[in-house]
Symmetry: D2
Subunit: 341 residues, 4 copies
């Protein structure tokens, strides 16, 4: 009954198996190994396009290094007001970029409001002292919601019309794709996304992330940037192997689909409950529920875990909890939680 976060789980059996499979023998360091090259090629197949891939081991590294590669003096990046890049990375993008500014936009339920983007674009004119360089979307969002293809395309088109590049923070990209039933290509470059932080850690790896660049060259001479940030791994096959296990046989989608299904099972139970209610509806692997403080206490007493979330307008004995499901969540976990309620 641990719903604290999807990053509290370990690695999937297929990822562990791939690590074991590639452990023997010698392999060139720093990414020049055959496995890294073949896994990078796998991304081009997955995205139906020749892509450039840079492996890292944390989502913060992917987001901040990718955005920093677009940096320029006076540059600004638009993002959601609750975006992970803005609120949870200790200023990583500002730091890696040498001082770019993140401008948060109104984003109800985590989804950037198109009107807010239009206003922001108007406020940062050509020749001014803050030069927009990128729009960053998180998909699935921090609120468990998902941008559909049309929404991504609308925001991307507005950004591109203003000369911005479009970044997608896909720490839970698998959950978004699984929730929508679209292809990775449809949700990214076909909808105007220039580069993607493709996250695999939360969905079953130990520490495996990839920056997928849909227009090779967009991020410039990236290897020295990654290296000076300390994100070039000597035993690079350890990231590549995780990805091999993650991507083969569509494991990533199957695992993400499972996490989503577990969250839907939670939502269904809560919808049916007389003592709890959903904070809002959503489709990815997070559930936000208003429950009684007593129920939360019971959950914890039973060894379960869930984080409380700030919220206004609740009754004194209520609290909003975030419940995150993962590849490791079982039906028994879900039913156990519903039982505790």
């Amino acid at each position: 009954m641990n719903f604290a976060s999807d990053n509290w789980a370990g690695a999937t059996p297929e990822v562990m198996a791939a690590l074991a499979r590639h452990n023997d023998g010698y392999s060139p360091a720093y990414g020049g190994d055959p496995l890294s090259l073949s896994v990078a090629q796998r991304f081009s197949e997955l995205f139906e396009r020749g892509v450039e891939v840079w492996f890292t081991a944390t989502g913060t590294a992917s987001n901040s290094l990718g955005l920093a590669a677009l940096s320029r003096p006076g540059g600004v990046v638009f993002c959601g007001e609750d975006a992970h890049v803005h609120t949870d990375e200790s200023g990583a993008t500002e730091f890696q970029s040498g001082g770019m500014k993140l401008v948060p936009l109104r984003s109800p339920l985590g989804l950037i409001d198109a009107g807010a983007l239009a206003t922001a674009l108007g406020k940062h004119p050509v020749g001014g002292r803050s030069i927009p360089v990128a729009l960053s979307l998180t998909n699935a969002t921090e609120w468990g919601t998902v941008y559909g293809v049309a929404q991504v395309a609308e925001l991307s088109a507005m950004a591109r019309a203003g000369g911005l590049k479009v970044h997608m923070d896909g720490a839970r990209f698998g959950n978004a794709v699984a929730a929508l039933g679209v292809t990775p290509a449809e949700l990214t470059w076909k909808a105007g996304v220039d580069f993607l932080s493709f996250g695999a850690t939360k969905n079953g790896c130990w520490a495996a992330e990839a920056i997928v660049v849909f227009t090779p060259g967009l991020l410039g001479d990236f290897e020295p940037r990654r290296q000076r940030a300390g994100h070039t791994f000597s035993k690079a096959r350890f990231v590549a192997a995780q990805f091999e296990g993650y991507l083969e046989q569509d494991n990533w989608l199957r695992r993400a689909g499972h996490a989503n299904a577990m969250s839907e099972r939670l939502r269904a139970g809560i919808r049916a409950s007389s003592v709890a209610r959903l904070g809002w509806e959503n489709t990815a692997n997070e559930v936000f529920a208003v429950i009684s403080k007593a129920a939360l206490a019971r959950l914890r007493a039973a060894g379960g875990a869930a984080h409380e979330w700030p919220s206004d307008g609740l009754a004194a004995d209520e609290t909003l909890v975030r419940l995150v499901t993962s590849w490791a969540t079982t039906e028994a976990d879900v039913d156990g939680f519903l039982g505790v309620l």
Copy 2:
């Protein structure tokens, strides 16, 4: 017969076992998990002192984040002229510190010359426009040599007298300790070292490094610094587990001792050879040998690997090669190489 680098090997069985052992179940993210805490405690035992430990996954991250924590406007760091921090990290320390300057010192066979340090200290007076903040020593060095305890103590004392902190880049710390037969404490804080980049990747982990701070608090509020650099891992137990396997039952020393022994076997063979000679004598797990270009070609033809190294004063048909041994090197590898000669 692969002697390209110790980071071309994989992970040891004990490290793989520890990863598997700790894969199940849920664990708090970002380093608050019981395993991370217990492994950190293990370092205090190892170093016979209450130490502060920050896990990272690359040596560049450890070196640059640690040194950057001491940064100040106008600050400079003294290091060896061939130090990894100076020549192989794409300016990581300069970047992480917001522009500190690395001042390389004359360092024959990788060992900083005490006279050069004295001169440098004299050239950077109080009130000047470059303010020394740290001395960085690499041990074992990039040339396969090892600073003894007395040498570390001498350089540290000079640095400390000038108000500098002393950093040791221990990417091959295990090899140094094993070569000297001293304790980790004797080679570090007892000899004046303030903090250590304790490397484990080269000696048998996938990606496991630790910044060991002998005076807790020296590096300030370090967690936000690590986080904004993208080096705080969500599934932090994956680093901690590697260290558990690495440190238990003195595996790290045993593995390092083996690598050193294999290099000594190489050196002995080369000393006895009439067609090759040692570039210089040393005791850690690197061997620098002058061989014929024909022998190198034969090695490569046989599937072996070794990097050529720049060198003056060789005959036209000679080359200097660096041969690195690791936990994975076998006697057969060594003897195979000697046979190829």
Copy 3:
């Protein structure tokens, strides 16, 4: 009739005289000259307290270097949503600080809302991933309004209770002091301000700014920070001399008072006008007026100047203009403008 900005005027006669007076002979470079030292001492008298003074030549330098001196990984600075530091300095504070984040707060008519500050403080808790380090107030504000002593004290007290330092951007500090009729001390350290960007350029110097630190030592070892940013002037007396002319005989207050009076004369005329109206009431040397586009065209045809300002809710033939008065503005300028209306 030039109301484009107070930085479109030249230097006052007294500033020119001081430059001429101190031009002859030799003087130590980089701020060690007797004039720099005596003028710094003059600030302690002016502020009734032993203060630390750092001269610069631009307001952006003062703001960004001062705030950067407080920087830390993950650090954030709260400021008004239209604050010069946030919107007009091309990310100077983010850059100088190595990536601190500026968090804009709701600030009607340029004045930070106390409730917004309270909310922001609550949102950035201890242990989180954005650590508030400073509150920056602009006084007089970018909207021509002025924080009174009580308002400064209220916001400062809230900030200090949260462990923040308080910065005042005083690019138009003279206008604020003159408008309020208080002492410099009352409007700053007695009201909780820790350091002040004391601007003199707009109010009659060429390029003279000072960072006034009310708790000496607060900004650390500042000289290397200023030097590496290129803001330490070799012929430092050129800034000090400007300040001598600026401060002697209360010229600065007299000049600022004149500018304020000219703006009040403008406001009075506009209040009495049937064809124009004030955007809002204020007391410093900026006037925001809604006038007809035809009147603006007439002004420009007559050689006058004023910037249009973004505004909602105007009639189609109206525009909001910002009229800035300075030490050089004459009654004839004002009356000329009113005549054009």
Copy 4:
């Protein structure tokens, strides 16, 4: 008899006159004023080519902002081992560039050794972890020597062949041009220089420097870079006016020629002296002389000034002093010094 530095003098009468001449009336801020534009145009005439000009107020700003505009991750800049950018700017270039490394080259008497440059270029190969981006030459050098056109051309050609851009730190550019009797064009772009820090402060301005870019566009979108560093002046005409007075009627060359002549008068006197000797011969406005400590004491007792310089191999009662002449130095100053000897 003040020979401490040329930056201990004030501004020339022609510079003061230009400031006074342009003080009246209103002028657009931030460099859009007619004077700034016309003075920029003057540089194109001076250099016989359409150049791009960026005004700053310190040499450190010019050097560091210009070099930083070429920065890239892993980038390095080659410079002389005693270059001002390396030893006297508190790490300004490292800071402004976000961590570029300055690699000092052997430079006897301040002149970079071509062989040392060749070696350095060879040590930083394509694909390595330090990517050379620029060569920085100081002319006149910090040792009072001057690179001739052929020397500049030789070093520039080597650098350009390696893909580097060539920067000239011309803090004493006027002294170099005057000493050589060449045109500004011949000493810069015709000899392979890409951009120049054109210094005017030392040679008679208050605070006036210009980055002259011989290939417009080379430094990218420079204005936001200058602005975020706090080096865009609101009352920009104050820099432009200084340059107007400096450049008109070849004042800059006349003043520099005078300073050089005064230094030659010093050198001649010292050559003829039996109690002093030249440290080395040179032609720009610095003289390095070995004198007795007693003579230095007499100079100081008489109100004179000169800095001692580190030197090996002197007798116990000797010292090496640096004597800097300027536009303000008189024959009486020189003769007074020689008399004190």
